[in-house]
Amino acid sequence: MSVATERIAPTVGAGARTVPPAGFRRSRLAFPLLVALVVGTLYFLIPLLATIQSSLDEGRGFTFDAYRNFLRDGDFYRTISTSLFYAFLTVVGSVVLIFPTAYWVNLRMPWFRPVMTLVTFLPFVIPPVILSLALQQAWGGTGPIPIALVGTPLLLAGAYVVLSFPYMYGAIDNGLRAMDIHTLTEAAQSLGANLGTILIRVILPNLWPAVVSGALLSFSIVMGEFVLASLFNYFTFPIYLNYRGQNEPHVAAALTVFSFAITWICLGLIQLLSRRAPGAAPVATR
């Protein structure tokens, strides 16, 4: 599972290459770079093309049978709904948890930011496999607090919110720092708004692109997460993909194309949004 796209390498929508001054000779692209571009393009395109081809061709010519196959399978809809359910829970939970906290830290406790950074970076240090081991020991019913959460929706949603921390906090924090929340807050307060109103009706509308950015990234992660779901026996879409893949190669390819399309749509949307986001400044250090 990949890490660190939005957080560490935030959007690069802003900023173009520097243009050479007039009269300066325009150099040519060195050969190794050209090779890298060509090889890179081939390397990334070929597996996609091969998968698409495999999904459309079962050895008897062009057909959509593989797609029709999973579209007719009850389990497909079941697992997509389950994954969507968790994705929704995760996004909502993550935003509800992180947005007010990030706002509060930026407004009143700026010295706390390193702690926030540390905590939200922890999921990078604890990859999902380790998290599953840890969660099993803590909440499998045999931990210091003998409540068995493993097997409940709460556990998986909680774990997924944790996995979304770096991305959600990164996006929201960046967004908050790019706007002047002190002025906005004071202005709203002077007009008699309470905290809730400020958050929802003043800050959030300005933060929307950042929130959606974080949300889409988290959504994409949850829709593709395999480790936790598999080890804790939840029946989500990636589990279904793996199951079909073990029985029918072409349906697996079709589902892979579908899965890639979801990822593409989510992250493509982020790219579009970030291009228009105010103050999506690259951050080099943290």
Binding site: D75, Q136, G140, G141, I147, A148, L149, V150, G151, T152, P153, S230, F232, N233, Y234, F235, I239, Y240, N242, Y243, G245, Q246, N247, E248, P249, A252
Partner: protein, 391 residues
């Protein structure tokens, strides 16, 4: 050599398996008889008594409770429809008893994970499987960890002793043997035995059904290799060595011998259960053509046992399932799926096996040298693999 002779030979082979259990057969039968006599008292037992007893529960009571109390639902894991013709059994539950089996298709449900599923839902949250279909070592684990209840179905006495737990906590359902399943489109010369697998023409062709540390099926493949290479039911190390040798010569591929890979030929020679291989053969219908060979110098029989979860949310359905799979109809479905039903011997001598069904299995000659193992031996082998198998 007519089908009758074949049946006799098969009976012999199964009898050896049964005798393996030792002289306990007779004493267990006697004990069962006594228990049966003792329990038929005049007063009808309450539901509570029925559920906490070790059965069997009369079929009509089960049939009515399953609808009234369990709402016609059974939660199950680890019973893929394409495995040993569970499809027909699942359909049968629906047709005969109006019970819908809510089957979770997480294909990674190795036996260990089925146990885990029961364990992690002790609080009653999440998906609570009512029954399980696990390898015997995991059956023993389930008993030790107190996750199952005792239930002796109506046909308990027909099951060979080595395949069941004496107090009823698990019951053998069916078994198969390790076989070479060959995709003849990518493999021209079908290997006849283990020694053949070393040939350079099988480069990158040989695979097993997953990781032997994780799946019983794969474990038995390695163990069968051990039998053929100087090992025994007590020593799996030669099997590990054999596969290490296949790895270094390049003949072994880590790609899993699942249905998809067997079909595409990604794995040319898969070593796994004969009933799976035969099922694939039928399912592919010649495209590609599959040959199933049982290696004479080393093949282990592996049985799977049925367990009833202590935390079952549908206890009547769980017991009904147990009754159904061990009934003549259920056992014959296993046979249709090319697995040897646990009650084969008893059913054959009572003439309850249709001749055409019996003829569908490979000739019993091939099963001559098959060996059975005890759960203890399986645990020992599992530990050896965990320590020495490096993937």
């Amino acid at each position: 050599m007519g089908p009758l002779d074949d049946r006799l030979k098969r009976r012999e082979f199964l009898a050896r398996g049964a005798r393996w259990g030792g002289g306990l057969v007779l004493s267990t039968a006697a004990a069962d008889l006594l228990a049966a006599c003792g329990s038929t008292t005049a007063a009808p037992a309450s539901d509570q008594q029925l559920l906490s007893g070790s059965g069997p529960i009369p079929l009509d009571i089960l049939k009515s409770r399953v609808i009234s109390v369990d709402k016609g639902v059974l939660n199950a894991t680890g019973i893929p429809p394409e495995w040993a013709d569970y499809q027909d059994i699942l359909d049968g539950m629906q047709k005969n008893f109006s019970v819908t089996v809510d089957y979770k298709a997480q294909a990674e449900f190795s036996s260990a994970q089925e146990i885990q599923a029961i364990k992690s839902t002790i609080s009653g949250n999440g998906f609570v499987p009512d029954i399980g279909d696990v390898g015997p070592a995991l059956g023993v684990t389930a008993v030790q960890e107190n996750l199952v209840v005792a239930y002796k179905n109506a046909n308990w006495k027909d099951v060979p002793d080595l395949m069941k737990e004496s107090s009823g906590k698990y019951c053998g359902e069916y078994y198969g043997v390790q076989a070479f399943v060959v995709n003849t489109k990518v493999v021209t010369n079908v290997p006849a035995d283990w020694a053949d697998l070393q040939k350079p023409e099988y480069r990158h062709k040989i695979g097993i059904d997953g990781d032997p540390r994780q799946a019983t099926d794969a474990q038995m493949a390695v163990w069968s290799a051990a039998l053929a290479n100087g090992g025994s039911v007590d020593n799996i190390q030669p099997g590990i060595d054999f596969f290490n040798h296949l790895k270094s010569s390049g003949n072994y591929t880590p790609a899993r011998s699942d249905k998809a890979h067997m079909q595409t030929g990604e794995v040319g020679i898969g070593i796994f259960w004969d009933y799976l291989g035969l099922g694939f053969r039928d399912s592919f219908a010649g495209n590609p053509d599959i040959k199933v060979v049982i290696p004479p110098s080393g093949s282990l029989a592996g049985y799977y046992v049925a367990i009833v979860s202590k935390y079952a949310k549908h206890p009547w359905a769980a017991r009904l399932w147990n009754e159904y799979i061990m009934s003549d109809e259920g056992q014959n479905f296993y046979l249709k799926g090319y697995a040897h039903p646990a009650r084969y011997l008893a059913m054959a001598s009572a003439g309850k096996i249709p001749a055409d069904l019996a003829a569908k299995l490979p000739s019993s000659d091939q099963y001559k040298n098959v060996k059975f193992v005890t759960p203890d031996q399986q645990t020992k082998a599992k530990d050896a693999l965990a320590a020495n198998w490096t993937g």
